[in-house]
Symmetry: C2
Subunit: 399 residues, 2 copies
């Protein structure tokens, strides 16, 4: 109840209780949730006196195993919460390792966000709350009192697609004040279902860049985060397609068009930002489908990128007839590696459903004698890995 006293004072200060929408000022939750204690001990609370059952679910809960089509795989686990006499349901998870976690509550069968936690992230069609257990790499995901870069939502035009489209652009601290300095550029691509917000929000790319640049472990760079869904000019709700929920599940993501329009992205970036506009100062990386895009774009335009990062890449065979982009893979890779990229970096988790596809791709690179750096981690096709991969990849760039 301690939050209510200052609000009541605020009420008095304003002389009277206001109208409907004014209610937000007084609409506090009677609990704090989550409460993050020592050694990763975290307690979740929700005031739900009339509910019959409440559970916690998310990546802070051990997964359950399920079967589908003969495959065994992990699904989100659930922890039942316990109701106290005051109507508050609670559960405590001990010893969470430092990490950014996502969670939801399940109240009488409905998956909801935590009413006491305003920090939520959208992952495709799901909205989950998040919290950070500090320590280790997770400290890179928090905002610290260091110089901060600028994050901008910028629209560019593409003739290839015939549309104005939205990108997220990170410019490092100092970009505005030192107007002579030019910077290298990383193009950072999202996975299927993601959009131009994914890396800066779920991926904590802004915080990672601010913190690692401030620490001197990463070169100051511009980071351009595009939208890989050709039929969606911007994230859901941010384009003229409106606020209605997205109904197109695969909005032309892997038909060659996104890859083909990428030189326009690079030209726009070089035309509008103080870049160093050459191959030695350009990197491209992506997760899952974004890894697929990075692989195809970098071999399609072998003079464009010196640094390539494939994070849990969806390296799956594509019908060469589907697009010129997917034709002559052997010849294009030969041209790319003949020019010896400075870094061809592949990372994947041992539990990733794309592990075998990546093994096959590496075997092909090995057979051809094309050099690459390989990082194999624990875990599967999850943001936790992609944030880690970014922290490992960034220090290798432009040095």
């Amino acid at each position: 109840m301690r939050h209510r006293i200052p609000l009541f004072i605020a009420t008095l200060a304003f002389g009277a209780v206001g109208a409907v929408a004014q209610q937000a000022l007084w609409d506090r939750q009677p609990v704090v949730s989550p409460q993050i204690g020592h050694n990763g001990r975290t307690t979740f609370n929700i005031f739900a006196p009339a509910a019959d059952s409440v559970a916690l679910t998310g990546d802070c809960v051990p997964p359950s195993m399920a079967e589908f089509n003969g495959n065994t795989f992990a699904v989100p686990g659930m922890l039942p919460m316990v109701k106290a006499d005051n109507g508050v349901w609670s559960v405590t998870v001990d010893s969470l390792a430092p990490e950014l976690y996502s969670y939801n509550f399940i109240v009488d069968g409905v998956k909801i966000t935590d009413p006491a936690n305003v920090y939520a992230l959208r992952d495709i069609s799901s909205v989950t709350n998040c919290f950070i257990v500090p320590g280790g790499n997770a400290d890179l995901y928090s905002v610290h009192d260091v110089p901060h870069g600028t994050v901008a939502k910028v629209w560019y035009h593409t003739d290839t697609i015939g549309a104005d489209r939205r990108m997220t652009v990170y410019t490092p601290a100092g970009y505005e004040s030192d107007r002579a300095k030019r910077y290298p550029v990383l193009y950072l691509l999202h996975g299927m279902g993601g959009d131009e917000n994914a890396w800066s929000e779920l991926g904590r790319a802004t915080q990672i860049l601010d913190n690692m640049i401030a620490a001197g472990t990463v070169e100051p760079m511009i980071v351009v985060m595009t939208n890989g869904n050709v039929d969606m000019p911007a994230a859901p709700g941010e384009s003229h397609l409106g606020l209605t929920p997205p109904t197109t599940d695969l909005p032309r993501t892997m038909d060659g068009t996104f890859e083909s329009h990428f030189p326009e992205v690079v030209a726009f970036t070089d035309g509008n930002y103080r870049t160093i506009p050459d191959k030695a100062h350009r990197a491209i990386a992506g997760l899952s489908m974004g890894g697929f895009h990075s692989m195809h774009i970098s071999k399609q335009y072998p003079d464009m990128f010196d640094y390539i990062g494939l994070f849990s890449a969806a390296i799956l065979p594509r019908d060469p007839a589907a697009s010129e982009v997917y034709s002559d893979l052997d010849g294009k890779l030969a041209r790319q590696f003949a020019e010896a990229p400075a870094l061809y970096w592949i990372a994947i988790g041992r539990d990733d459903f794309l592990y075998n596809a990546n093994t096959a791709y590496r075997a092909m690179l090995d057979a051809k004698g094309y050099p690459y750096t390989y990082v194999e981690s624990d875990g599967g096709h999850i943001w936790r890995n992609w944030r880690n991969y970014l922290t490992e990849f960034l220090p290798l760039l432009f040095r």
Copy 2:
């Protein structure tokens, strides 16, 4: 169920069902909600077979009346939802006027966001879903296929406060491509509990500016949206104060410090953007507490702003001893009006709890013979009014 088929195809395309976090790709809701039909007819749906009661609440529902301390005031209304055999609870609201609406569901007593609607807005400590019934001014709140400005989250340093702080900066379409053109600036301030995100998110300022500039009814301008909470460098979760819920209810918002540091905001803006750095090309406006700030800043620095907008302004007496900013109100207003601002614009709703305070302020201006423009609307202290006021105020600037 129609959404599930393409996702299943996606599953096949990837060869296997993935791991825990991968689930987001398959985690679709079995209903569409809200469904917006003709003439504002809107149906809300939620799949909750185990729930005992579900209701709709929000500003799309007629308010109820309540009493507190002898005052009668409106509180959010509720509409019970009805359960069908398939476990889906629904309710339909007819004839909603064109507007951006906010809503939540109440499931067995817990206020939740709509699991089928990823579009949510945070208003202080509440997260609500939103939707737009098209038509009239509401069309200005939608994204249309017009040239879009850039929205950036930018950090500036202030010696007065001794901190790096975050602002939202809107630069109009064409700002990057025509590098000779200079622009006027509107400083747009939020209310109590808000932050540097409030006007661009709840206020739809980005969409309003894009649409009205494209229509030629508003001059292209830069809009700077600051954070008026002196003890919070940035919105919750966006500063080194962390992801834990905010516990300071009035983080030094009206003690004179924010007003005193404002020349640093203007200097940063003029130093980092292609502004026209004179009084004739600067406006300041704000809602509620932001109106209070705009009033005090504009009279404290009478040579700085030619256009002043007070939207439902919290014009309440302050102890002159609390800050030099609040001293000598009469003398400072006399100096401000002696220099004849181009526009001093006051708007408030008839049901606003600050109506009488604004009436008293206008009576004082009248008694002194200080000219101003007055707009009185229906309704109370609500975002609906502030969005409308912005659409009325913007066309009056810099012409």
